[in-house]
Amino acid sequence: MKLNDDIILDIRRDYVLGKLRDGERIDGRAFDEYREIKIETGIIEKAEGSALVSIGNTQVIVGIKMQPGEPFPDTPDKGIIITNAELVPLASPTFEPGPPDENSVELSRVVDRGIRESEAVDLSKLVIEEGEKVWLVFIDIHALDDDGNLMDASSLAAISALLTTTVPAERFDIGEDFPLPVRDLPVSVTTRIIGKYGIVDPCKDEEYASKNFITITTDSEDNIVAMQKSGSYLMGEEMLMEIMETSIRKARDNRKLLKEV
């Protein structure tokens, strides 16, 4: 990285941090306040399900494709979820074409964990022939505009897309189409750690100020279903507890949006 860039980053961080010390964020939000969230579903007719989620300027589209395939040997009675994230270079001046790097791997795996561990999709209903043939559910995360917090936008888009997914049984000559059985609404809340401050739903300028974050995903009953501390920092216990409280609370708010999908 060039020196100039480093200096600009430093100045930006100082600015963000200075504000936080005064109890403010650069865009005037409260520390635990999300930008406006919009969810639009069914936008890709050729996909089995799809959703475009925007959080402020951040936009992520998730498309669901399904096809019959072989089950894993140790779970012959369950469908399979495969989650993939592409940080296509269209979404940010810093993304480059190429195979997934560690950040997109982490993004897809954390989103996947939230869906999987909350058992949001009833995989036992996705068996076509036990041990032989089950439904594969491809969750493809496609970032369009990265203005911060791709993680929560991707999670919301994933569950929104699943909620509107129709299993394409007719196309494969295996009975009638039916809605994908979704039984929980996992919601992830990401908190950026800048110095000693934690702020939810970071915008890009806040992300430039620190690489450190923690994502906590909770289910409809406030259980924690996935956590990921990311970044080279040390987190105190007290702060973790606070973030956990906030995450549960904010997830409840965002879950309301899902109920309207």
Partner: protein, 250 residues
């Protein structure tokens, strides 16, 4: 290309009710992405594409820079969910070829010499693909370049002509592409509101020379219609923007 037994023209109309020289519905929105320097969302029938332009900016790694002119990249990419059967992420041979000929069309009209050592990147994502996605992408890219303020000699407007059931039709949709007799994607260079020359031309199928000449004329008329919409979309954005809003053209 395969004629099979499928009839594509019934009672002088196409399967979706269009006349031979009707375009599919087109929708454009300019400036839809915040992080890109220029952007355009475009629908052309069931095609849904987004184009983003970055630059002129520094080239990484630096040894790829050209001391004389800007280096142009163009990446045509299909989302895994954009097609009937899920597409594996990453470039395949088809998208490598489309990216190449599309980049060359764009390079021919961008004033690269104004930006030595710089890079101009055009990334186009196909969110949903129907026939003609490369033409839809070029139309979106052209508008996104204007949105980014990249100096150009003119505009690119692109449309295909197909031969189906022995007649020529403008802007073929999926069935016409799959079961037709020929597909000819064109992109034209338009300056001062008139078509000057051809920026992209590919063809597969089977047509006589005479049919090709007709196809070319049909494509030119179609491209001019698209061009008017592109202009309108750009204008609307800039007029609206002063009032703080982004508008949609249909």
């Amino acid at each position: 290309m395969d004629s099979k037994d499928i009839k594509l023209i019934i009672d002088g109309k196409r399967l979706d009710g269009r006349g031979f020289e009707d375009l599919r519905p087109i929708k454009m929105r300019v400036g839809v992405l915040k992080r890109a320097d220029g952007s355009c969302y475009l629908e052309m029938g069931k095609n849904k594409v987004v184009a983003a332009v970055f630059g002129p900016r520094e080239v990484h790694p630096r040894h790829l820079a050209d001391p004389i002119k800007a280096v142009v990249r163009y990446r045509y990419n299909m989302a895994p969910f954009s097609v009937e059967e899920r597409k594996r992420p990453g470039p395949d041979r088809r998208s490598v070829e489309i990216s190449k000929v599309s980049r060359e069309a764009i390079e021919a009209i961008v004033m690269k010499e104004l930006f030595p050592r710089s890079g101009i990147d055009i990334f186009v994502e196909v969110l949903q693909a129907d026939a003609g996605s490369r033409t839809a992408c070029l139309n979106a890219a052209s508008v996104a370049l204007v949105d980014a303020g990249v100096p150009m000699k003119g505009m690119i407007s692109s449309v295909a002509v197909a031969k189906v059931d022995d007649v020529l039709v403008l802007d073929p949709m999926k069935e016409e592409d799959n079961y037709g007799q020929a597909d000819i994607p064109f992109a034209f260079f338009i300056r001062n509101d008139r078509i000057e020359s051809i920026a992209l031309l590919q063809m597969d199928g089977r047509v006589s020379k005479e049919e090709f000449v007709q196809a070319l004329e049909m494509a030119k008329r179609g491209a001019m219609k698209i061009y008017e919409m592109q202009k309108e979309a750009i204008k609307t954005k800039y007029i609206m923007e002063s009032e703080g809003e982004v508008n949609e053209i249909e």
